[in-house]
């Protein structure tokens, strides 16, 4: 199904959930509200016609100095329908927090830890949120734009 059909189906269940949709170079992106993220992800995963059973990637982007400063980006893939979808959730710069999607895709566990480690975004409900690449006593979040290239 195409982007409009998909976003209409989502809007039926979650009327406030979608903030915007866009298409660029053949890729569809849906920008979601943080509060509805977990429910929408579960819907996209469980709904048999939609079936986004595969979480390709989960990452964060820092758009400093724009506000909302951060975006957490989810790349989903449906193995059955052979299609991809990008979800983005904008977050404020001040103590950014978002629901963890580990209950939907187990693969999110390490990916969310990496976002926490390098960007400082916390994931509520994550089973084991701690640094993954940097030593546990590291100060700061290097991928942030206000962190110097030479730490």
């Amino acid at each position: 199904m195409n982007l409009d059909e998909l976003s209409n189906k989502i809007k039926e269940k979650f009327p406030q959930g979608i903030l915007a949709t866009s298409s660029f170079r053949g890729e569809d992106t849906i920008i979601l509200r943080a509060e509805d993220l977990l429910d929408i992800c579960r819907y996209l995963h469980d709904e048999p016609e939609i079936s986004f059973d595969y979480l390709t990637d989960l990452c964060g982007v820092d758009y400093f100095p724009r506000e909302p400063r951060f975006e957490v980006v989810y790349h989903l893939c449906s193995l059955k329908n052979r299609c991809r979808l990008r979800l983005k959730v904008p977050l404020p710069g001040e103590s950014p927090k978002l629901s963890s999607v580990t209950s939907v895709w187990k693969g999110a566990e390490w990916l969310e830890r990496e976002v926490y480690d390098l960007l400082g975004i916390s994931f509520v409900g994550h089973p084991d949120l701690r640094r993954i690449l940097l030593p546990p006593d590291w100060q700061g979040h290097p991928l942030r734009k206000d962190y110097p290239l030479r730490g």
Binding site: F24, R25, E27, T29, D53, Y54, L55, T56, D57, C59, V61, D62, V73, H75, L79, R82, R84, R86, W105, K106, G107, E109, W110, L111, E114, L118, R131, I132, L133, L134, P135, P142, L143, Y147, L149, G151
Partner: protein, 390 residues
């Protein structure tokens, strides 16, 4: 909750069988693993942050150093992402050369995996056999781009230079000899009682779990999920070649071994087909804003010199937007998510690392197994720490 009779054993980061600087904290009940917690980040170099201060051309050399056993594949995934961002079409000869190099690279990567994995389990001979063939492939890479391990051969819009004289004959000779060599490896391992006992039933993961973890590559296919990006979402002209995508039944270490062996044979098949069908034509797109002028012109014409200098120092601007492009690398789905702010440097350079995601399933796979199985399972995932840690 640790039972009083469990012992915590530290494996790594210096360890011959962890294939790099990987640390695994094992909680053992005798010889049985109760819990295994990988600890990574010893090879973290801040590659994603470094890329934000480099032009798109300069980032190509960074990508070589991700999965250093499969340099060509990393280059391809990255340039495909940049070309997608620019909306740039690549000429057919360049696409064919890219497929050729990536399939040779797949063979080289799997050969290295085969040798080291067998060595971990105790079979020391296959390593020497496998490296013999891999050396021929690395020699061919040196012929095309001057480097064995860090090729940086692909460019945005095509490849750096055309195939040199003598390459096609050498490559054809390789494809003629290779199937017999794989048969040799099989005589050492496939029906070997010790190999079968050490690998069958070990570290199995079901198809549903593999999909839920986001696993990709041979480890996913060994769990009976027929998903290969070269077939499901073809890129760079892969739809023009005929090849089988092998799958396993049980998802254990033995199946992963069989899947990779078959992939080597199939990759050899693809290389043969590419050589037979190689189209003539330019090896770079006709896009002067992005593509370097030919070297011969640069030494003779001032305009070409200025053009080259401008591209090398200032790079090229890109449309504002974001793209994700991925390939089926020897390790799995290697993808690049690029966010552009319109300038000549990426705003965000995200690598989707297959080894990182594949390794996250390690604790699931070793639960309840013996300590000796941990080594076999880590080997069967086929990880490269440089890709995990970036």
């Amino acid at each position: 909750m640790a039972k009083p009779e469990t012992m915590v054993l530290n494996m790594g980061p210096q360890h011959p069988s962890t294939h790099g600087v990987l640390r695994v904290v094992l909680e053992l009940d005798g010889e049985v693993v109760v819990k295994a917690t990988p600890d990574i980040g010893f090879l973290h170099r801040g590659l994603e942050k470094l890329a934000e201060s480099k032009t798109y051309h300069q980032c190509i050399t960074l990508t070589d150093r991700l999965d250093y056993v499969a340099g060509m594949s990393n280059n391809l995934a990255y340039v495909l992402a940049v070309e997608k961002l620019l909306g740039l079409q690549v000429p057919p000869r360049a696409q064919a050369i890219r497929v050729l190099m990536c399939e040779l690279q797949r063979i080289a990567s799997h050969l290295f995996w085969l040798g080291t994995h067998a060595h971990d389990i105790g079979a020391m001979t296959p390593l020497f056999y496998a490296l013999r063939e891999r050396d021929e492939i690395l020699f061919m890479f040196e012929m095309v781009c001057g480097s064995r391990l860090t090729p940086s051969y692909f460019r945005v819009g095509g490849v750096a230079q055309d195939l040199p004289e003598g390459f096609t004959e050498k490559c054809r000779e390789f494809t003629r000899q290779f199937p017999a060599r794989v048969d040799e490896y099989e005589t050492l391992l496939t029906k070997n009682k010790i190999w079968m006992k050490r690998t069958q039933g070990v570290g199995a993961i079901s198809a549903e779990e593999a999909i839920n973890f986001g696993l990709s590559g041979p480890i996913l296919r060994a769990s009976n999920v027929a998903w290969d990006l070269r077939k499901a979402m073809p890129y760079s002209g892969y739809e023009n070649y005929e090849f089988i995508v092998p799958t396993g039944k049980n998802g254990d270490v033995y199946d992963r071994y069989l899947v990779r062996l078959m992939e080597m044979r199939q990759a050899n098949e693809i290389v043969r087909q590419v050589l037979d069908k190689m189209p003539a034509g330019p090896i770079k797109a006709d896009a002067p804003q992005v593509v370097y002028p030919p070297k011969e012109k640069v030494t003779q014409s001032i305009e070409a010199l200025i053009h080259h200098f401008h591209l090398a120092s200032a790079g090229f601007p890109t449309p504002k937007g974001e793209v994700y492009a991925s390939i089926e690398s020897p390790k799995g789905e290697l993808g690049f998510y690029l966010v552009s702010d319109g300038s000549n440097k990426p705003w965000r350079f995200r690598v989707r690392p297959p080894s990182f995601i594949n390794l996250s399933a390690l604790s699931k796979m070793v639960e309840g197994r013996l300590v000796a199985d941990v080594v076999a399972i880590i080997g069967s995932i086929d990880i490269v720490l440089a890709e995990i840690d970036r």
